[in-house]
Symmetry: C2
Subunit: 367 residues, 2 copies
């Protein structure tokens, strides 16, 4: 019996856009994966989504995605079945049949990669993820934050190399070993975490995020076609605050330990004239300061969108002169607990800042 509902090519377009918005500047570009997934649909493969409330306790679910050189923008596969091969490797190693896939990271390209692996496998993708956004490292996903073991995990590349991390000292070691293996394999690899029970996912995953990303993308596409303002549509749907509108004045960017770090300076327009917003970046947009005062920070989402089209602007595409809106969206509750903030709060990224949660939360939880 096939479970779940099918994604169409149009859904893939909207999902990729919504995932890019939730990528908050990072997460890798989902468009290449979208093209590949669309090709698979044309070739007769099916991509099915398993509603979160249809997840069964006994389901055995593998989270897959691309992992690579942490500098953004290169999450591109040569062959396309890397995540599938990685999933089969953990399945073989564990000795139990996998019943569904899931994303670790709905923001950016890893919203799409599980769909491709699922198409090859003939399995559905659970409507949920482990971040509700994008983060740069694997220990930052809720499955690991809430104690599910990441190992045995597997990496696979397009050349036929498969590495299984069968035992790891902790989740930081998992990240470290997987990251360098992926870089070795040619900058990027398909990555699969240890199979998780449905019962454990119910406790740890951020539910409904695949359909939320899809909804968000559809909303922006519709707003464009109806000549509505995409940014206010996104804010209205999600409850995100309009943190700023302005024109990019300066972008500084450098690569530190493989991570794209930088800062963007935005001079205010409209209601924000004579004000300046600074956004610190480490792959994702991390901390927003208005006239020196912190107004939003991780794990809350700081989304920089083109002021007119609502197109999300990834950190590597930020340029002088772009007119942008900056939205702040309350993170899912799963990222706001004391335990989670140790891993994904401002201090985990090296900022000596307390986390001041944005108000207006609830979008993730309402669905």
């Amino acid at each position: 019996m096939l479970r779940g509902w099918e994604l169409s090519a149009g859904d893939l377009e909207a999902l990729a856009l919504g995932a890019a918005i939730l990528g908050t500047g990072g997460g890798g570009n989902p468009y290449i994966g979208r093209l590949r997934a669309t090709q698979l649909l044309k070739a007769g493969f099916r991509i099915r989504v398993l509603p979160f409330d249809q997840l069964e306790d006994a389901d055995l679910v593998v989270a897959v995605g691309g992992i690579g050189a942490p500098v953004v923008g290169i999450e591109k596969f040569e062959k396309g079945d890397e995540c599938y091969q990685a999933m089969r490797a953990v399945e073989r190693f564990s000795g139990k049949p996998v019943t569904a896939l899931i994303s670790s990271e709905i923001g950016g390209s890893n919203a799409i990669e599980p769909l491709i692996a699922a198409a090859y496998a003939g399995l559905p993708v659970v409507d949920a993820d482990g971040m509700g956004r994008a983060f740069p490292e694997v220990q930052m996903c809720t499955y690991l934050i809430y104690g599910l073991p990441g190992a045995p995990a597997a990496l696979a590349d397009e050349k036929g190399n498969i590495a299984i991390l069968s035992s790891v000292a902790d989740e930081y070691w998992l990240e470290k070993l997987a990251r360098t293996a992926a870089v070795d394999m040619g900058a990027t690899a398909g990555f699969a975490l240890a199979p998780m029970r449905g019962s454990d996912l119910k406790r740890t995953a951020v539910p409904h995020t695949l359909s939320l990303a899809l909804k968000l993308g559809r909303l922006v596409l519709q707003a464009r076609s109806r000549h509505l303002d995409p940014v206010s549509q996104v804010a209205g749907e999600t409850g995100a605050q309009l943190l700023f509108e302005g024109k990019i004045q300066d972008v500084s960017r450098r690569v530190v330990k493989g991570f794209a770090r930088g800062r963007v300076e935005i001079d205010g327009l409209r209601d924000f004239q004579r004000s300046r917003l600074t956004v610190d970046i480490q792959n994702e947009n991390l901390v927003a300061r208005r006239d020196g005062e912190v107004i939003a920070s991780v794990p809350d989402l700081i989304m920089i969108l083109d002021l007119e089209t609502g197109e999300p602007i990834t950190t590597e595409l930020l340029r002088f002169g772009f007119r942008v809106a900056v939205l702040g969206l309350a993170a899912p509750e799963q990222l706001r607990t004391a335990r989670a903030l140790e891993v994904v709060g401002p201090r985990a990224f090296g900022y000596d800042l307390p986390y001041r949660p944005l108000g207006g939360g609830g979008w993730y939880a309402e669905h």
Copy 2:
């Protein structure tokens, strides 16, 4: 039934010395491993050697050793059971019980590491190896040269991390992936190759090299205690040619892609006065030129020994003023075939030189 004969603490001292001589300047320092192996003997563990002619076709043998940052001199384990853990990981992955261990590389520290793993495992170590000397990379061992699969291979560190390379595109990918994983794990890791059948080892291994290294070490120790010349004893035993005697005039050394590369210049003494020998180094001593003319090269062994004591001088210890003898020993036949020379001949190390085999071979084959 326990198979093989037992090694004593005295044997370990001689074996470490002989292995260092066969290390031709590289292979890592065996003395730290020797101390640990000696402690194990004191604690009641046994180390047994399985004569090559007692190897059975159905034996399942795992080659283990340390792998690490290729710069020499840091092949040191923190905990001591890393190779054992790596061996158990490939055994579990393969699902068949391992019956013996073997060295990949008798030259240097990896002569000893299998003994430590074997002590923990209660298994014997086959009297053979995959190089008859030391080489810097895993694809240079005869098991892989002659087509045995290296994967599934495993790496283990002292922190509990275990990585299984379950599938590799080729043996060069095995080397690359294993090397960076090891560096990640803290510069060094225990490494185990895929289990090999006894019948395959009979076809691919260099036999008797453990006992040859032991014999060589005993010879030097005896020569010292009897005030005989250790260098001429080594030459007499092995059939090695005395290539040069002299005083080190200059040593240049740099690290290129993690490999210790360099050159040592030696001014002649005694019969070699008014002559100069240059030895190129890439971890091991690779090419010897007398007054500009190549007189020995890989895969033949170029051994630099202290002129008085016969102590092998590893490349990182070469210093101005040392008085040394340079011996050239014909490599085992397994390294001299056309197939092997593609992997371990001068061109494999970047030298545009034909391989001119040293005469006087046969030491390896006679035993």
